[in-house]
């Protein structure tokens, strides 16, 4: 059941796994931006999470502890951003960019001595009997737990943002911090928690790169995944299910173009390499076309700092 040397079942199964880092980071950033904060430090938080997760997993021998370590590392770095922007009211764009540079540098320094080590493997969650079923086996049952976690988080965040009090307050703060403050909500505290959550999600995403996708430590291991996550959040109109779609689309085309390269297709490598970026953005733009102004879902207070005066 191959098409030009490419097996669609394997392709789908691989894309689900390869999209996990971007999906997790983008979901975290969705929450952050819904609360009105633009954190451009996703790449930095991911790579710190990748290093933190790798170190903890190697030291303890437990991949689960590794992911927790990644989450903690990402959240810790995001708290620097939170302190600067929410307490000292620094510019969010500049602080976010600095956070990325800082994260890249620190991870490069801290990763010295971890090159060439193999981390404990994150195995598949369900028994082989299920995973060996034809077609549905690899797609539905053949993954490690993080893949299921990422899909579950999409559903959870969608439900929280849409239907719960917590989600309503987050959206309200992102929509108009003055109004939220007038009603007595602690704008900066709510945003701080959202930033920490976004950091933890980016950290887990980063840890998945170093613990499951590659899996080893090299400098600059996330190679721009954080920027793709940022773009997907915007083009997905800040909606979790569209974020999932965007991440899978990007992951899918990345896997596909790699397979095409291997299969020796006639298309030049350069075009194949740029295809994931182009097609993902194109599809998401087409989806959000035709709607103008606020209807595209951008939080009205995105990127604005809030200071309670009078």
């Amino acid at each position: 059941m191959d098409f030009g040397g490419i097996n669609p079942v394997i392709l789908i199964a691989t894309l689900m796994a390869s999209a996990v880092p971007i999906l997790l980071a983008a979901l975290g950033e969705t929450v952050v931006e819904r609360s009105g904060v633009l954190n451009l430090g996703v790449e930095g938080m991911m790579i710190i999470g990748a290093l933190g997760g790798f170190v903890v997993a190697v030291q303890t021998g437990s991949p689960v502890l590794g992911f927790i370590g990644g989450a903690v590392a990402g959240a810790a770095l995001s708290l620097i951003f939170a302190a600067l922007t929410q307490v000292f009211l620094a510019n969010q764009v500049a602080t976010g960019l600095a956070l990325t540079l800082f994260g890249l540098g620190v991870s490069s320094l801290g990763g010295q001595g971890y090159n060439g080590i193999k981390p404990p493997a994150t195995g598949q969650l369900l028994p082989d009997a299920l995973a060996d079923l034809p077609v549905v086996g690899p797609i539905l049952f053949g993954h490690d737990w993080v893949v299921y976690f990422s899909i579950a988080m999409t559903a959870v965040l969608w439900w929280v943002l849409k239907a719960t009090r917590v989600g309503l307050v987050i959206r309200a703060v992102g929509e108009s911090h003055e109004a939220a403050h007038a009603l007595g909500y602690k704008v900066n505290r709510i945003r701080l928690m959202c930033i920490a959550f976004g950091g933890a999600m980016a950290g887990i995403g980063g840890a998945y790169v170093s613990l499951a996708r590659v899996p080893q430590w090299v400098d600059g291991i996330t190679s721009g995944a954080g920027w793709i996550a940022l773009a997907i959040v915007v083009f997905a109109s800040w909606r979790p299910w569209r974020v999932l779609l965007g991440a899978w689309l990007f992951g899918g085309i990345t896997v596909l173009q790699l397979n095409l390269q291997v299969a020796g297709s006639g298309i030049p490598v350069e075009y194949l390499s740029m295809a994931p970026y182009l097609i993902t953005i194109l599809v998401l733009v087409v989806m959000s076309a035709g709607r103008r102004g606020k209807a595209n879902g951008a939080p009205a207070a995105l990127g604005q700092n809030f200071h309670a005066s009078r």
Binding site: L168, A172, E175, S176, A179, A182, L183, G184, K294, R310
Partner: protein, 508 residues
């Protein structure tokens, strides 16, 4: 009539760096009483009610609610104790629907479906129809206020604070609001009503406390005083009414025909087939509830929004496709409503701001360089002529109070000697004395032969300054009519009535 006391405020003082907002303020409100808090902008009314609502804490002084000490540290606590507030600005979320907005202002909201049903029930009971599933961004100003009122009513308040509730309503909507408030009062809910509109207070309120510069200067029973007496208590000086110099109507200076443009503003209103003419020496007043296309009309006239060339004509010359600078050169100056960021660059000095719009007409450039001496002289001229209170022309525009900056900006446009002047909200946030002087200078300019378009939400102001009167409603402009002889009822009808508002006839 004596009522049991609900809230007593004693000796409240609140100071900010450089300004004492409230100094030793005391008053009391009985149950079911409608109590007015009256004062100029900056008299400390808003600070006072924010303390009652727990948004800020007083420096000294005490409050008692039903005999028990009352010192809320946050709005949630005030709400729990039965104090609710309808804000003038800043408390609705445009991209959320009505039910979500209501839920955000409640301590423990019921599930959405139940809440929607309760919103329908309460809005029916008080004659304030409202659909819980609509986006707040799509609602009119009056409907938005209903959202806030219903949010308060759902919590069964003992004291309802209303901060300038009628500033955005049509006359008919005001009547309906007053009916609702009287109904609430008869059911035992006290209302603290903040306003500077004296006639409203006379018709609605039982008692009034008048604040000036943070101090209580008088308390009175509004029905027993004239509006003028209260105004003079409020301002602390006698007021003079602007006088009009009658100029012979000249030829048409500004002509607009069938102007339609899309709104560049989110949730904005596009203009639909606007036509009018203004002659030399004529003041055209354009009324309308906020959000009916006022901002868009200003943009289209100033040149920030372009149209086909012949849609807008200044002194017979088509300028519809020109930008703001060319239109200024052609003799049309415009003053937008938003002072911080649209009319002025807040972080630049007054001199620099004077150059920004007057540079063209006052010829403040030489060989491409700014003539700073000339610009400074012009800025100082404005400051002197319009009594702008500022340490000097080099302070940043942001450092001036809203009213002072408004005087400066009005002066800047009015003193350029332009043939056509367009102003949106000339006296918004300006105290009564300064407002009177701004209106006087608008009339003076018209007396000298300028054609003036004044867009405002203050009907009294428009009736005072304008020769002809039109209303913007959902982006359409009514045919201008002579102001003389217009009645409030006719104006109300021109404004589109009460936007579907009606008092429900509930049978018990």
């Amino acid at each position: 009539m004596t009522r049991p006391e609900l809230l007593r405020v004693e000796g409240i003082t609140k100071a900010y760096p450089g300004v004492v907002a409230n100094s030793d303020v005391s008053f009391s409100i009985g149950e079911g009483e409608i109590h007015a808090l009256l004062g100029e902008n900056g008299a400390g009314k808003s600070t006072m009610v924010k303390m009652i609502y727990g948004l800020i804490r007083p420096d000294s002084g005490t409050m008692t609610l039903r005999g028990a000490g009352y010192a809320p540290t946050k709005p949630a606590e005030a709400r729990r104790l039965g104090v609710a507030m309808v804000f003038q600005h800043f408390s609705l979320f445009e991209a959320l629907n009505v039910a979500e907005n209501v839920a955000l202002g409640m301590e423990s909201p019921p599930p959405m479906r139940e809440l929607a049903a309760r919103i329908r029930a309460v809005s029916e009971e008080y004659g304030l129809p409202l659909d819980p599933s609509r986006m707040v961004g799509d609602l009119s100003a009056g409907e938005r206020q209903r959202v806030e009122i219903i949010r308060c009513l759902l919590q069964d308040p003992k004291l309802l604070i209303m901060d300038e509730p009628t500033s955005v309503l049509t006359p008919q909507e005001v009547e309906i609001l007053f009916k609702t408030l009287r109904q609430l009062s008869s059911e035992g809910t006290a209302i603290l009503y903040i306003s500077h509109k004296l006639e409203e207070i006379r018709s609605l309120c039982d008692e009034a406390t008048i604040l000036r510069r943070g101090k209580v200067v008088a308390s009175c029973t509004p029905r027993e005083r004239t509006a003028r007496e209260m105004a003079e208590l409020m301002v602390g000086a006698s007021l003079k009414t602007p006088e009009r110099r009658v100029a012979a109507k000249g030829e048409v200076a500004l002509g607009v025909s069938d102007l339609s443009v899309d709104s560049p503003i989110a949730f904005g209103t596009s203009l639909k087939g606007i036509s009018f003419t203004v002659a030399k020496g004529e003041v055209l007043g354009i009324a309308g509830v906020a959000g009916n296309g006022q901002d868009e009309l200003l943009l289209a006239l100033s040149g920030e929004l372009k149209a086909a060339a012949d849609k807008v004509r200044v002194a017979g010359r088509p300028v519809g496709d020109l930008g703001p600078v060319e239109r200024r050169r052609a003799g049309l100056v415009a003053a937008p409503e938003d002072r911080y960021g649209h009319a002025a660059a807040p972080d630049m000095s007054l001199v620099e701001n004077a150059f920004l719009t007057a540079g063209v007409r006052k010829e403040l450039t030489r060989n491409g360089f700014v003539d700073w001496a000339g610009t400074r002289a012009f800025a100082e001229e404005i400051i002197a002529a319009y009594d702008v209170r500022t340490p000097g022309p080099d302070v940043a525009a942001r450092a001036l109070s809203g009213g002072n900056l408004q005087k400066f900006l009005m002066g800047r446009e009015l003193m350029q000697g332009a043939g056509v002047i367009v102003i949106n909200q000339p006296t918004w946030g300006v105290d009564a004395a300064a407002a009177a002087s701004i209106r006087q200078s608008i009339l003076d300019r018209a007396g000298e032969g300028a054609a003036v378009v004044v867009i405002s939400q203050d009907l009294d102001e428009l009736l005072e300054v304008s020769d002809s009167f039109a209303v913007l409603n959902e982006g359409r402009l009514t045919k201008p009519r002579p102001t003389e002889g217009l009645t409030m009822d006719e104006i109300g009808l021109m404004m589109g009535g009460a936007h579907g508002m009606e008092v429900a006839h509930h049978a018990g």
